[in-house]
Symmetry: C2
Subunit: 450 residues, 2 copies
């Protein structure tokens, strides 16, 4: 009897094993040529850096086949980034959009893309263009979902970042008869320094940076004849305000820079419907290193600019952007925009609380507005704090912050007074936490003097 039971159990077990093996073999996916890259990526991703750094597949030593090392966030050090450096100065200068990194870490699977050496080697896509049609589609879809731009019957153009597209736009609009004086490039103070830097560096015979749009409007050179290009940044960098064009007239052309017109930073009050609008991937998904821009009209000249300046945009970059934007639009943007907005809202709440204790420093103020995206009245949560040093003697605000070990960007860079300094709020959580620590010290110290 016992033996019979044993045989039966054993045979049943055998059957279970056979089924298990057969089933597993038929459903387990079997990687082939993709395996090496996958192991490489999983290895890098599995390196533990204490939450204060990451290891990347192309980290130092990867050429020699070493496991990539941790690359630590600012002020962290050690093999696993677990050591916090004492008295380390905070970097609050550039708008490196790492506040979205935790979102992409969570979306590691859905945003992953695998390419091999034979992926799209040609200069052109099958339709003869140098831009992926699927990418163009997903960009239009994104603007539709967010409601920040009308894309129907508009051209979409891609560049190596909105930096390149800005140069292309300004260049395209400055084409005038060669005998005419150069077109003047204007922006209202405070403005993003790139406009000035590009115009001065590229020293086109047809373009001259002239500075503040308000000053130009009042000046006697403003004659309704001289060709003028105004760049309108809205929300504005550095102060986050929604801005309108200052200049109008038959001689005025306008470039709208909407890099920050996303629900993270600002209520979406109305879809952009301008002749020429620029958007930037860096402030959409946070991918600073693989930027994209879109805009409408003056199409051919800008396309030629992009071709002549860099022969279009790398194929793998286009592929990655497609994959990222697919993730973004898949739920109508719900997850990423909520995550990003909540993150910035919390940061602003913290910041406002600190500055409310100070008479020495003040922040820009904005009134809440109705946001068509979130379907509610909401605060502005700009990328940057635009801080004013209120004391008469504090003429150089940048230096005051620098002495407190906080590196911002001087108001002067934005065509404004040195009494202002811009602090970036969209960097990594570590950078922000560190910034808050240092600000608390500075503000409490400041309070002693009140």
């Amino acid at each position: 009897m016992e033996k019979k039971l044993l045989v039966t159990v054993s045979i049943i077990l055998n059957l279970v094993f056979i089924i298990h093996i057969l089933y597993n073999n038929s459903t387990t996916w079997n990687p082939t040529w993709t395996k090496r890259a996958t192991v490489e990526a999983e290895t890098a991703a599995s390196v533990s850096c204490s939450g204060h750094g990451r290891a990347y597949v192309d980290g130092l030593g990867s050429l020699d086949g070493n496991k990539p090392p941790c690359e630590c966030n600012n002020c962290y050090t050690g093999n696993d980034c677990s050591l916090l450096l004492q008295d380390c100065p905070v970097d609050a200068n550039s708008g490196d959009p790492l506040f979205l990194e935790p979102f992409w870490m969570r979306q590691a699977e859905r945003s992953a893309v695998l390419v091999s050496g034979w992926h799209r080697m040609s200069y052109i896509y099958q339709d003869g263009t140098s831009v992926s049609k699927e990418l163009e589609k997903v960009i239009r879809k994104l603007h539709g979902v967010v409601g920040n731009a009308i894309t129907e019957n508009r051209f979409v153009i891609f560049g190596s970042g909105s930096t390149q597209l800005l140069a292309a736009a300004v260049h395209a609009l400055s084409f005038i008869e060669s005998s005419s004086p150069p077109a003047r490039l204007l922006a209202s103070v405070p403005f993003y320094a790139m406009y000035k830097e590009q115009a001065e560096f590229f020293d086109s015979a047809h373009l001259k940076f002239e500075g503040d749009a308000f000053a130009w409007k009042k000046s006697e050179d403003s004659d309704n004849v001289t060709q003028v290009i105004e760049v309108v940044t809205s929300p504005n960098n550095p102060d986050g305000m929604l801005k309108r064009a200052v200049l109008q007239g038959p001689n005025v052309k306008t470039v709208h820079d909407y890099a920050y017109y996303w629900p993270y930073f600002s209520p979406i009050t109305v879809p952009a419907d301008e002749d020429l609008s620029l958007f930037s991937l860096s402030k959409t998904t946070g991918h600073a290193g693989s930027r994209f821009g879109t805009n409408l009209s003056v199409y051919e000249k800008m396309k030629r600019y992009v071709t002549l300046s860099s022969m279009g945009v790398s194929r793998v970059t286009q592929l990655q952007v497609l994959e990222l934007l697919k993730v973004v639009v898949s739920d109508g943007g719900d997850e990423i925009f909520s995550f990003g907005y909540e993150t910035l809202k919390k940061r602003w709440d913290t910041l406002n609380k600190i500055f409310s204790m100070s008479n020495r420093f003040s922040l820009q103020t904005t009134k809440p507005e109705y946001c068509n995206y979130f379907k509610k009245v909401r605060d502005f949560t700009p990328s940057y704090a635009w801080v004013k040093c209120e004391r008469v003697e504090d003429t150089n605000c940048y230096e005051i912050f620098r002495a407190a070990k906080i590196t911002g960007r001087s108001g002067k860079v934005f065509g404004s007074e040195e009494r202002f300094v811009r602090l970036s709020l969209i960097r990594s959580q570590d950078d922000f936490d560190h910034l808050i620590d240092m600000l608390k010290k500075l503000v409490s110290r400041g309070a002693d003097f009140i």
Copy 2:
């Protein structure tokens, strides 16, 4: 007895299965977050396109989750690209470097790379630069292995293609006191049209394209004072010749464009050791859509140009290039350079045979030289055939070929006579086979008239 055997066998089988399952679970690699991307890539790669096309992960419809369709080579059609179109004109115009595609298909595994959304989101690498250190290392290694450039004590700079770097170089060298007349940009005929197009399009106040370097040397404007920039393309585009600078003097600056100085196209006679040299990824690995260049000196100004024109190069592009060049250098370049050279050698043998039957058309001729890379005397196997129409009445060679359904590029584009036409030989095998078919017809027809 039988029962005992049954029990024993059954139990042994049980053990075998258990060991099998345990062993398999511990050694089978278990994909996790990388799985989706891998399946996607394998699916696209498995689409069969009859050898006359490929399907890509970002093909049409990929946004809607469809299996990507075949994208057929020129003149092929049908769902699986198996249909050859009758009377289809040949494209022999652009230098789309698809001749290396079969190499990368074979290297699918080694050249694959997997990135997820959180890969290097920052503008900068950990060292504060916008260029991957490993990438810079592998580029220096590549030049060392090939022996086509000395990189010791030289700067390496990266751009969105050598197109961007060319503009950056010319711009950097044209910086002169603003009161001086603009620098003249020169190249000896026949020259690559991009030089002229960029200079004219970007219309810098400090630069003017002046045309042929030989003509300038003879002209009375050549005064040893006017600032001059000569671009020397070697091997030359369109004719594949090794070229030297025409102009010398204290007022002359030289940019060396070595885009074609790779063993595929030319004997490597001596390592480049110039002040400023440009290389291009498109003619190194064949990746036209993700170009890179390197050069030496005038570093800071060029870096600023790249920053201001496109904020550096996309991170995934840098990662892919690193992966590609790792494959290239892994065996000292043996496999890729041999494959590429053999391919072009075969193409030139076929071409020479056809043209040898014709008095109507002639090809450029070059003498074999010793190649330091292959360690032997070898032919030039240029990217392009530089064809001359020899008959007096055949004044427009481009049109003669176009009538025979071969689209080349007119000699006029290169500052040369219309009696020349350039035919690209580095395109896909399908394009080349097709070109040969049409050339045979043209040449045999031409023979009737002799």
